[in-house]
């Protein structure tokens, strides 16, 4: 099996460790990983802020980068360690195609995006549904609480896939997060445009996490973790945010430090 890694602009720039973890994890599971260097951003920040026409070139760029490899059978899937970017491609790209059609611009955008949409998977979804594994042979001797991010939870319907993966990690103790399904308050530009409300939501999330007594808050999206982590650091609750890929990549031989 050979896959293309869509790392996303946030991870590429700010969280390269997550990318390295995905490569390590998938390689260990016998999956060959490629990183098409021309990839950039799915367009979610533009789309969600109301700049759909600026997001369109980015959607087309995504299909230019990943489409040919998918069409030729070179890639069996496109994997991303970000629930919200996977949701952008799978849920919102079809809508962008429809809107372009409604604006009298024909099927060109929809046709260009069609091949990459069903081939794009969020990491935990790919592991459980496509590879059919829940025990990935990881070792992580820490107490962890899991925050299911909104897009992973509601747009992609990841359900218990991430927690099944975590439960199978050796040494890991999973603690239930109170109010888990509530938004952490990030929401992209919302965090800046409605900073007061966003901060209040973040503080509540962090307090709930701290109440579990876990050392680590884990999620499948670094954007949410950036907001939660930044709040944790400010509130000094003595917890750290860790992306699920890094936990799943950690082994006894090469533990995550």
């Amino acid at each position: 099996m050979r896959v293309a890694l869509f790392l996303t602009c946030v991870n590429d720039t700010l969280y390269p460790d997550t990318g390295r973890a995905v490569v390590k994890l998938l390689t260990r599971l016998g999956v060959e990983v490629d990183f098409p260097a021309a990839q950039t951003c799915c367009g979610q920040p533009h789309y969600n802020t109301g700049y759909r026409h600026e997001a369109e070139p980015l959607a087309r760029h995504y299909s230019d980068v990943f489409g040919p490899g998918v069409a030729s059978g070179d890639y069996d899937a496109i994997i991303t360690p970000s629930g919200s970017c996977a949701a952008m491609v799978r849920e919102l790209y079809p809508r962008m195609g429809e809107r372009a059609r409604a604006e009298g611009r024909g099927d060109r955008l929809a046709t260009a995006l069609a091949p990459v949409i069903p081939k794009t998977y969020e990491l935990t979804e790919f592991l459980v549904d496509v590879l059919g594994v829940t025990d990935v042979g990881a070792f992580y001797p820490h107490t962890v609480t899991y925050h299911p991010t909104c897009h992973g939870l509601r747009s992609l319907g990841l359900g218990d896939r991430p927690t099944r993966l975590l439960a199978a990690v050796k040494g890991l103790e999973l603690r239930e997060l109170p109010g888990a399904q509530e938004c952490c308050g990030f929401g992209g530009t919302f965090a800046v445009k409605n900073s007061d409300v966003s901060a209040a939501m973040g503080a509540d999330k962090v307090r709930n996490a701290a109440a579990t007594g876990a050392e680590v808050l884990c999620a499948a999206d670094n954007s949410c973790l950036m907001h939660i982590g930044g709040t944790m650091s400010r509130l000094q609750v003595g917890m750290r945010p860790v992306h699920i890929a890094e936990i799943l990549a950690s082994t006894e031989e090469e533990p995550l430090v």
Binding site: G19, R20, A38, C41, P45, R154, S155, E182, A191, N194
Partner: protein, 492 residues
């Protein structure tokens, strides 16, 4: 909409104080969490919930698609049943019609039940200007009216008040509106309810004119339907000699059978009850029973324009159950008043800017009053994709585009105040379509990483006031990948 809301500040400013008001936040948190948990249990009891939700959506969509046909049918059946139908294009026209009808009776008082539509148009203020006093009879509306306050929730307009505050309002204000509160009133729910009951009963028995809204209007028979839990609706609808119902044109359903769906989904979604305690239906006038005269004022006030918008029109499916408010993390912290409308919460954030347009500061800010978490869409019993409409309206604010205003197509210009953001979005799009430029930017950020402050001035301050920024890593992933050939080379 109502003049009360003109000149409201933008949502973030209005939310600022609410977020810091700990009593308000505690009241809201307690109330919304209690009701959202109950609702989840009530919904889980039905194994065909998903199908009911889909049916509700389909019925509403069908009706909206053929709205003209059903409105004409409704007018015919209401007229045939002895009622009179009036058409109001906007708030002013509706207020003029109702005021004229009330004055024609010679009365100077009306009792009111369940009518967000009349709040939307500011009817009480319009009546007051003509010397007519309107008494709200829903318990929460009464609290809001006595407290000279504004409603902050669709179903529980006084949700922002706790029992102690309500007792104080009753003690201080009831006397100047009618029967005073009993001596030594405490804040137990039973005593508060009894005080309201005594106060209101006097008004019901005296009133000659009632003003109501309606949850549904059945086109085939001309029947109007109100569902409520206090019984005040029944009093207002049957005791007065004249009944004036003011209803938004989107509240129509084709047949009685269609009600079957909504009479299941509405109570479970709103009050978490299997069935609402009172369902009142009225059809025109009946000899020796109920009102002698019945008027139906059909209110447009931006609805036809909203209907013209392909994405936004789904907001008109709303049955005002308020489930979306109770699950919304933003509503929970900002409170209902921040939305600057009788329609607060997620539905308000998409309905108000469509009914009123996006010109005012508050209306242009409402589409951003959401983190797009999707909880509202998940609970909505008629499957309104609120996040989709929010993003669509954001687009209208920042990019402008075609809209319908008073039946005419106009092209909106992008709203002012977004120029810097637009430039930044364009620049980011340019970099993201030029991977080499992106890589160069990343390298520059990595090289200067030691000089990045963890708190920053300017627009970024909104972030760093409450959160620390992540440290930029020494090497981007793409540079690592290139340097190590995907981790195969040394130095990984």
């Amino acid at each position: 909409m109502s003049g009360t809301y003109l000149g409201m500040p933008a949502f973030p400013e209005a939310a600022h104080d609410a977020v810091r008001n700990t009593t308000l936040r505690a009241n809201l948190r307690h109330a919304t969490h209690t009701i959202r948990d109950k609702r989840a249990r009530a919904v889980a009891e039905l194994d065909d919930w998903a199908r009911l939700r889909e049916a509700g959506k389909q019925i509403k969509d069908h009706t909206l698609r053929h709205l003209e046909h059903y409105l004409v049918q409704l007018e015919e059946s209401v007229t045939a049943a002895g009622g009179t139908v009036h058409w109001a294009a906007d708030a002013d026209e509706a207020n003029r019609i109702v005021t004229r009808l009330v004055l024609a009776t010679g009365e100077r008082e009306v009792v009111k039940v369940k009518s967000m539509a009349t709040q939307e148009i500011g009817l009480n203020e319009a009546l007051e200007a003509e010397g007519v006093r309107a008494y709200e009879t829903d318990l929460a509306e009464l609290i809001v009216q006595l407290g000279d306050d504004r409603p902050s929730h669709i179903l529980v307009p006084a949700i922002h008040r706790n029992r102690g505050e309500i007792r104080d309002i009753f003690r201080e204000e009831m006397g100047s509106w009618g029967r005073p509160a009993p001596e030594g009133l405490t804040d137990t729910p039973a005593e508060l309810a009894e005080a309201a009951r005594l106060h209101l009963r006097e008004k019901f028995l005296r009133a000659k004119v009632g003003v109501s809204g309606a949850n549904f209007m059945v086109a085939e028979t001309g029947t109007l339907v109100v569902v409520e839990s206090e019984g005040n609706g029944r009093m207002c609808l049957t005791l007065p000699e004249t009944l004036i119902s003011v209803v938004g044109i989107e509240k129509i359903v084709p047949t009685w059978q269609d009600l079957e769906v909504f009479l299941q989904t509405l109570p479970r979604s709103s009050t978490a009850e299997r069935m609402n305690p009172y369902t009142s239906t009225w059809t025109g006038t009946t000899e020796s029973d109920g009102p002698r005269t019945f008027h139906l004022v059909l209110l447009d006030n931006g609805r036809t324009d909203t209907l013209a918008d392909e994405v936004g029109r789904q907001a008109l499916r709303c049955i005002r159950c308020s489930a979306c408010l109770n699950v919304c993390p933003v509503y929970e912290r900002a409170g209902g008043h921040a939305y600057g409308s009788v329609y607060p919460g997620p539905i308000g954030a998409i309905l108000s800017p469509q009914l009123r347009g996006t010109q005012s500061e508050i209306d242009a800010s409402l589409p951003y009053a959401s983190s797009l978490c999707g909880a509202c869409y998940e609970v909505c019993p008629v499957a309104i994709d609120i996040p989709e409409v929010l993003v669509h309206l954001r687009e209208r604010v920042v990019e402008g585009g075609p809209v319908t205003r008073r039946g005419t197509k106009v092209t909106l210009k992008p709203a002012r105040g977004h120029a810097a953001e637009r430039a930044a979005m364009r620049a980011a799009r340019w970099a993201f379509t030029h991977p080499a430029a992106l890589a160069a930017g990343q390298r520059l950020a990595a090289r200067t990483r030691r000089f990045h402050p963890r708190t920053v001035p300017g627009p970024g301050r909104a972030w760093t006031d409450t959160r620390d920024l992540p440290q930029v890593p020494a090497e981007s992933f793409r540079d690592w990948w290139q340097r190590t050939d995907g981790g195969k080379e040394a130095g990984k």
